[in-house]
Structure formats: structure tokens, C-alpha cells
């Protein structure tokens, strides 16, 4: 194992901002800042209040644009994967996060934050299959290592 491109301060600052976002949404609106749930609620889920979800997503895009503009180098995009992989990955992530009721934000940041056993089981599972997938692709198939 070699440690590469480690940026602990940018990571920590980014994480604190994400934690602040989740706290604000729960404190003010009583909502979980789970991105997969918010995207589904804004688009494919029938009923429900869509306005706040679309505004949250608009803010997400605005915040990212602001950071890319203010922080040099933050807009890096590195990938060895051909474009169809992104489409397939999106399909699997979309289906999986609905089936499993959440992703890195809903189960990770918010669920672990409120000590939910379901979220702990979810995080342990998706971390494990994520690590396994990268291992298979990079070290068994030798793609993008």
C-alpha cells in the first residue's frame, strides 16, 4: 500500500461544511440531508414537497461552482473509466440507494450521526462492496491501477 495525493485539511474542512449542512437541514426543516432521497423525492417519487428538494439541489450545484471558482485545483477530474461505465454505475447506484434507503450522506453522515444501527449496517456493507469492486477492477482485471 502506498499513500497518494492525501489532502487531509481540504477533506476535514469539506467534511465540517457537510456536517454543518446536515445540521442546518435537520434543525430548521427537520429533514435528513440524504442526497439519494432528495434526488428521488425531487424527481421520480410521487407526491411530497418537491420545492425544497429542488432548491437544495440548486444550492448543491451553486456551492460546487463557488468552490471550483474559489479554490484552485479543486475542479480536478481524473478517471480511467470509459464513459459507458458512468452510465452503468449511475443505474446501479440509483437502484441500490432506493432499495437500501440511502447513500453516503443519508446513511453515512446523517444515519451514523444519529447512531442508527440500520445506517451502520448499510455503511459497513457499501464500504465493503466498494473496496471489493475496486480491488477486482484494479488488481484482478488490471484496469486503471
Amino acid at each position: 500500500m502506498t499513500i497518494v495525493n492525501f489532502t487531509p485539511w481540504a477533506g476535514l474542512i469539506g467534511g465540517l461544511l457537510i456536517g454543518a449542512s446536515a445540521s442546518l437541514l435537520l434543525w430548521l426543516n427537520g429533514r435528513i440531508a440524504g442526497i439519494s432521497g432528495i434526488v428521488a423525492g425531487a424527481t421520480v417519487e410521487p407526491g411530497g414537497d418537491r420545492a425544497w428538494r429542488w432548491l437544495f439541489l440548486a444550492g448543491l450545484l451553486g456551492g460546487a461552482a463557488l468552490a471550483f471558482w474559489l479554490v484552485p485545483g479543486s475542479q480536478a477530474f481524473q478517471s480511467d473509466m470509459p464513459w459507458p461505465v458512468f452510465l452503468v454505475a449511475g443505474l446501479i447506484v440509483g437502484f441500490g440507494t432506493r432499495l437500501g434507503s440511502g447513500c453516503t450522506s443519508g446513511h453515512g453522515v446523517c444515519g451514523l450521526g444519529r447512531l442508527s444501527p440500520r445506517s451502520l449496517a448499510s455503511v459497513a456493507t457499501f464500504m465493503a462492496t466498494g473496496v471489493l469492486t475496486v480491488f477486482v477492477i484494479r488488481h484482478l482485471l488490471g484496469v486503471g491501477a
Partner: protein, 136 residues
């Protein structure tokens, strides 16, 4: 109105956080998951930083009777760990490890104006839609 502005500001902070920590760069995520190869521990600091805040703040927030701008908290109520939860998480992890995007960074990276995040989000929506079409 107030709750819509709150959501916008929360989204803004979330997007700032994801982009500053460069979770919008697939290589940073895939290197985090590559513990036997070229490991980049940054994602643990992102998750750790976020949990540092929520583990403390949620305790105080959830002691309130209700949120400031709404009548009640909207929280998941289930506590059982079932096959759907684990199967869904397992699938999500596979997709995450394939491209290096989970939903938040995938959506935030749309502002880069390149194809890969747009394709990821297109797939995301179709996958979510497909799940809705399944009989319960």
C-alpha cells in the same frame, strides 16, 4: 418560504464541502477504496469531519420538540436490518466502486460541464425510476 431558503443554504454548504474536499474527483474516491494499492485516506477525513459535527449537533437538535420551520421531524422510523437494506447497500457500493461517484458528488460534478457526471446522473435517475416501477 423560510424552509425553502433553509434548504437552498444547506445545499450550498453541502456543495461547497463536496467540492473543496474534491470528492467530485473520481480518482480521490477510488483511491480511498483501493486500500491494497494507491490509498488516499482523504475520504475518511471528509466523513470524519462531517460526523464530528453531526454526532454532537444531532443530539441537541433531536431534543427539540420540532424543527424551527416545520411542524415535526421527518426521520426514518425503521430499526430492523433486512435483506433490502443490505442488498441495496451492496449494490450501491458496487456502483460507487465502478465509477467513483456516489449521488452527492455525482450531482455536484454536473457543474464541471463534462460528460461523465451527466451520464452518471442520467443513470441514477433511470435506476431510481426503475426501482419505483417494481411491484412492492
Amino acid at each position: 418560504m423560510k424552509k425553502n431558503i433553509a434548504a437552498l443554504i444547506a445545499g450550498l454548504l453541502f456543495g461547497l464541502g463536496l467540492a473543496i474536499s474534491q470528492m467530485t474527483n473520481p480518482a480521490k474516491v477510488l483511491n480511498f477504496l483501493d486500500i491494497t494499492g494507491t490509498w488516499d485516506p482523504t475520504l475518511a477525513f471528509v466523513m470524519g469531519g462531517a460526523l464530528l459535527v453531526t454526532l454532537i449537533s444531532f443530539r441537541f437538535i433531536l431534543k427539540q420538540d420540532r424543527p424551527l420551520f416545520e411542524g415535526q421531524f421527518h426521520l426514518p422510523t425503521r430499526s430492523d436490518i433486512d435483506g433490502r437494506l443490505l442488498g441495496g447497500a451492496a449494490l450501491f457500493g458496487i456502483g460507487w466502486g465502478l465509477a467513483g461517484y456516489c449521488p452527492g458528488p455525482g450531482v455536484a460534478a454536473l457543474v464541471m460541464g463534462i460528460w461523465q457526471p451527466a451520464l452518471f446522473v442520467a443513470g441514477l435517475l433511470v435506476g431510481m425510476w426503475g426501482f419505483r416501477r417494481l411491484p412492492a
